[in-house]
């Protein structure tokens, strides 16, 4: 599970995807922004977003299906927790103008100070949330 090769290979593919998007249509591969624009953006600005998301979802799901990867873990997360987490991720990425891809991959690659600040903040808060969830037992 901890072997480095799939991580490096997958990361390089993500980078190539981001590169192709900037080279072809001049856009940054920030998934939260592409997705919110696809749903709520100006009409003339939706096609490229939908094409990107369709490619990502179709090819990603196909890879999960056909590439021999570690079998998926049990899909049994607590419903309320997943829903609250989804709300926070949607709200926070919109407010902070980016997620792991926009600030994390593309922002750091552009040496953006704003993105670096965002990455430090979301990493720290994510680690804190995971810590509380896994190691702090609140029940009496």
């Amino acid at each position: 599970m901890n072997d480095w090769a799939p991580g490096i290979a997958g990361g390089a593919l993500i980078g190539l995807g981001a590169a192709l998007l900037l080279w072809s249509v001049g856009r940054i591969a920030g998934i939260s922004g592409i997705a919110s624009g696809a749903l709520e953006g100006a009409r003339g600005d939706r096609a490229w977003r939908i094409a990107f998301l369709a490619g990502m979802m179709i090819a990603g799901a196909a890879a999960l299906q056909f590439v021999p990867l570690p079998p998926p873990r049990a899909q049994s997360g607590p419903t309320a927790l997943l829903a609250v987490a989804g709300l926070l991720v949607g709200f926070g990425t919109r407010l902070g103008s980016g997620c792991t891809s926009g600030h994390g991959v593309c922002g750091l690659a552009r040496f953006s100070k704003r993105s670096l600040a965002a990455v430090v903040a979301f990493m720290a808060f994510a680690m804190a949330a995971t810590f509380v969830m896994n190691h702090v037992h609140l029940s009496p």
């Binding site: 290979a9 997958g10 949607g90 926070g92 804190a128």
Partner: protein, 137 residues
Amino acid sequence: MTRGILACFASGALFGVGLAVSSMTDRHVVLGFLDVFGDWNPRLVFVMAAAVAVTAIAYRLILRRPAPAAGGEFHVPKAGAIDARLVAGAAIFGVGWGLAGYCPGPALVAVAAGLRDAWIFLPAMVAGSWIAGRLAR
């Protein structure tokens, strides 16, 4: 324009396969990285390092060109101030990411793959984004 749309589809495909191959679509791998005081899984470090390295080199070369290959102009965010809105948004996103192990890209791929947890997470994510968009108006 059609060429541009095809290129966007191909970009997304590379991105999505990258997420799948690196197991970022498995939220437990991501949670394993975030759980620094538990059974730590370094996978995300390799993924981010490779993705940032490839993107940084490619962006430098591409941004020397006068315009994107399919026409139009480069839409690169302008450098701005680190404000409360950015940090608060990132912090709120972080809490959600740390609770579920899904960020937007992997969640979308996991939905396409029919994974149950992502089907609960994604509608809530869309709602959260919509609420933040309304408040910002």
